[in-house]
């Protein structure tokens, strides 16, 4: 179970504002986290607390394939992203690196900035603790559940390569 304060953004949050390219000359998660969301919300790094949940509109993470974007968000302490829809490369990247994401239009629209939100990753149930409302995100397909359970794609591949000897 994940629980945290909602930090809310709009539609089409792109990877250039999540982590501007001027900081991509490093792959260090801590350095990337120091500039996370800088061009959209300069206050983000001051207000984010470990466990907080980003709630956003449609097409979250559109643009570049930079895995630095979910890495920066994860290293900032964000525990989960709830959005109406995700851009597909961001979606893959988040699952591959083990950053939980939930596609749930209703929750994404209803939850307000600052609300306390709980997420059950196994059932896909999202609870707004501030209002008491609950929502249900579509569960992940079996294969993705295996990926997530393995701890991301690195561990999954490690397991497969090990099995092949």
């Amino acid at each position: 179970m994940i629980q945290g304060k909602a930090i809310k953004y709009g539609n089409n949050v792109d990877t250039d504002v999540i982590i501007p390219a001027r900081y991509l000359n490093t792959a260090d998660p801590k350095e990337l986290a120091a500039h996370c969301m800088e061009d959209l919300d300069p206050e983000f790094k001051n207000k984010v607390q470990p466990g907080d949940i980003i709630v956003a509109g449609t097409n979250f993470g559109c643009g570049s394939s930079r895995e630095h974007a979910p890495i920066a968000i994860k290293a900032s302490g964000i525990s989960c992203i709830i959005a109406e829809t995700f851009a597909r490369i961001f979606y893959r990247n988040a699952i591959n690196i083990g950053l939980p994401i939930m596609e749930c239009p209703e929750a994404a629209r209803d939850i307000k900035d600052g609300d306390q939100v709980a997420v059950d990753l196994t059932t896909g149930e999202i609870t707004n603790l501030t209002t008491g409302r609950t929502y249900k995100a579509a569960p992940f397909p079996q294969f993705m559940q295996e990926l997530i359970k393995a701890g991301g794609l690195v561990e999954y591949v490690k397991g497969r390569m090990g099995a092949q000897g």
Binding site: N25, N59, C62, E67, R88, I89, N96, L153, M161
Partner: protein
């Protein structure tokens, strides 16, 4: 029910007779690509996986093109990681500065992608190679790492939107206008998770460069890939550039599409995307006087020879506006050399533009033309997000090489009609 081009290619690479939209598959890849930003992370993850060798040293391509020639010490360190990995793994397609070009112009030029291939690249514009009738898509670094180790990648089989093209483009109108027009029509998430499949009798009139430009920006509509039906022009291009064996896949007659759009190419006007989304398109009757500070002609979208020829045609005998820094970036060394031989570089320099070595540089706000607060650029690049080319309060207007060159002369966003009589 029949399959789309993309579905057929994916089925063949997963060893299946048939796939359905939404199905998760594990497919063999024909090429895995990375650049100086994404490959260092992939190499780190590759090592974490415990992998010792890449699955096939001929099927991995590493192109340090974003922050190169190394713009600062940190970038130099990133490139060094790639270089050492390439040497250790004996990667055949590592392109050092001097051989290097912008990856999505370089890879087709080197003949590394042919029709029917499955290609993944840790760069969102990997979708460019759909112009050749390949399935080609952008992924992240961890996907790249897994594919370098195993030769495979997981995919969710996409649905497709079909674009049936007819007619011919009007004078000055190019592939860039076509794709900006389409993104304006369907929006930046209009093709989310889907393929964009291009077909129809209008295809024949589009050059390969136009097709590369269109497929390149499929990602800007949220698409998984853009793909063109293979025709004589494709086959001619492949014959000229590659010795790889290939297979042509055609969509089944009864393939199912989530949507079908008929587009008359002759109805598409010159199109410019305003800040801060590529869907925010305007035509010249809606633009008015917008003064600019910089023009960039280049990138994986529009840095090919035909783009430079168009720019030269407009700039020839003219001078760029004294307030406009005009930066022209041939996408590969071969394009650079050819532009030199044709006299294009002389035209650019005489006009007061600068010509750079190949690099992604300014497109993503890396180097070679960063914008200050409040500055505006007309660029032939692919994204105009907040802060994309520099300061968070700078602006990027996306346009074709013809519009960019004309704008460089007048100092405001201009149609070529204004400067070429």
């Amino acid at each position: 029910m029949g399959m789309t081009m993309t579905q057929k290619i994916l089925a063949a690479h997963a060893g299946l007779d048939k796939v359905e939209p939404g199905q998760l598959i594990m497919a063999n890849v024909d090429l895995v690509l990375g650049n100086d930003i994404t490959a260092p992370v992939a190499i780190r993850e590759f090592k974490r996986m415990g992998a010792k060798r890449v699955f096939d040293r001929k099927k991995v391509a590493l192109v340090p093109d974003h922050f190169t020639p190394n713009k600062d010490i940190k970038s130099a360190e990133q490139c060094k990681i790639i270089r050492e990995f390439a040497y250790d793994m004996e990667i055949e397609n590592y392109f050092e500065v001097g051989q290097m070009g912008i990856e999505h112009a370089l890879i087709p030029e080197k003949g590394l992608v042919v029709p029917g291939d499955v290609v993944i690249g840790a760069d969102s514009h990997t979708c460019t190679y759909g112009a050749l009738g390949a399935f080609s898509t952008g992924v992240g670094s961890t996907d790249m790492a897994a594919a370098m180790a195993t030769g495979q990648a997981w995919f969710k089989v996409p649905e497709a939107i079909k674009f049936v093209l007819k007619g011919r483009l009007n004078k000055w109108v190019s592939g860039k206008d076509v794709i900006l027009h389409i993104i304006g029509m369907i929006g930046v998430d209009g093709a989310l998770y889907q393929s964009m499949e291009f077909t129809g009798e209008g295809l024949a009139s589009l050059s390969m460069d136009d097709r590369f430009t269109i497929a390149n920006m499929a990602i800007e509509a949220g698409a998984k890939n853009g793909i063109f039906e293979v025709d004589d022009k494709t086959l001619e291009y492949v014959k000229e550039h590659s010795t790889k064996e290939f297979k042509v896949y055609k969509a089944d007659e009864d393939a199912r599409y989530s949507k079908v759009f008929e587009i008359d190419l002759s109805s598409i006007p010159l199109t410019v995307a305003f800040p801060h989304l590529p869907e925010n398109v305007r035509t010249f009757d809606e633009i008015g006087d917008i003064p600019i500070d910089q023009v960039v002609i280049g990138s994986c979208t529009n840095g090919r020879l035909s783009d430079l020829r168009i720019a030269a045609q407009i700039l020839k005998g003219n001078k760029v506006h004294p307030r406009v820094r005009t930066i022209i970036i041939p996408a590969t060394q071969r394009i650079y050399l050819e532009a030199m031989r044709e006299g294009l570089l002389e035209i650019f320099i005489e006009a007061g533009a600068v010509v750079s070595t190949p690099t992604c540089g300014p497109c993503l706000g890396g180097h070679m033309g960063i914008l200050a607060k409040g500055e505006r650029a007309v660029a032939t690049t692919n994204r105009n997000f907040v802060g994309r080319m520099g300061h968070v309060e700078s602006e990027v207007y996306l346009a074709s090489p013809a519009v960019a060159a004309a704008s460089a002369i007048t100092g405001k966003i201009s149609s070529p009609e204004e400067v070429v009589k």
